[in-house]
């Protein structure tokens, strides 16, 4: 069964304190792995797509990486405005479903 597990459930950082969020996945043939950001009371906002192991994508203070079993979202020198829930999702070949993880809630304190 395709599955996505995100850790930790919640992460509290001081402003400027770099860290990483983990997304472990089990899927029968990865077609794509997606990262989204979700602010309270809003819909998820697309950040990155990764397709193959070794691939990396960057956007401002965020960098996403992919291996055959997991993905990391690295946050460098975070600011309070980076506080949000970060969702990881995967798609397998041969299907139309995107499987979402439960998310990591990030709190960045000034």
């Amino acid at each position: 069964e395709d599955q996505v597990t995100q850790s930790p459930e919640a992460l509290r950082l001081q402003e400027g304190e770099s860290s990483s969020l983990n997304c472990s996945y089990t899927v029968s043939g990865l077609r794509g792995l997606f990262w989204y950001r979700q602010d309270p009371g809003k819909g998820p906002e697309f950040l990155f797509t990764l397709y193959s192991a070794g691939e990396e994508k960057e956007k401002e203070r965020l960098k996403a990486t992919l291996t055959k079993k997991e993905s990391f979202l690295h946050i460098t020198a975070p600011k309070p405005e980076d506080s949000a829930t970060y969702l990881c999702a995967v798609q397998a070949f041969g299907g139309f479903k995107t499987i979402f993880g439960a998310g990591t809630r990030l709190f960045v304190k000034a």
Binding site: G43, P44, F46, T49, L87, K97, A102
Partner: protein, 112 residues
Amino acid sequence: DVKVTQSSRYLVKRTGEKVFLECVQDMDHENMFWYRQDPGLGLRLIYFSYDVKMKEKGDIPEGYSVSREKKERFSLILESASTNQTSMYLCASSQEQDREQYFGPGTRLTVT
């Protein structure tokens, strides 16, 4: 920019009522989705549509139906609302099935 709009941000309905949630996208996307989001469970797919009048069941279709009469509009229908359908409902669209999805702001539905 892709824009996905949902008809209501907040909705309160009584048990047994028929509920309609509307979603409209303005980017001519082929694919549209309805999810519900509950704490600790992530997003779960209710229904998916890949073309006008075409639909596929997701993981939790029981108690729901959908309608897609026009490409830009995808409706979710709760035939007889129950308290366990209290949730955040999110609509999304995508250009291709394997591409990123664009989400609406969500409808927080409370069934009493």
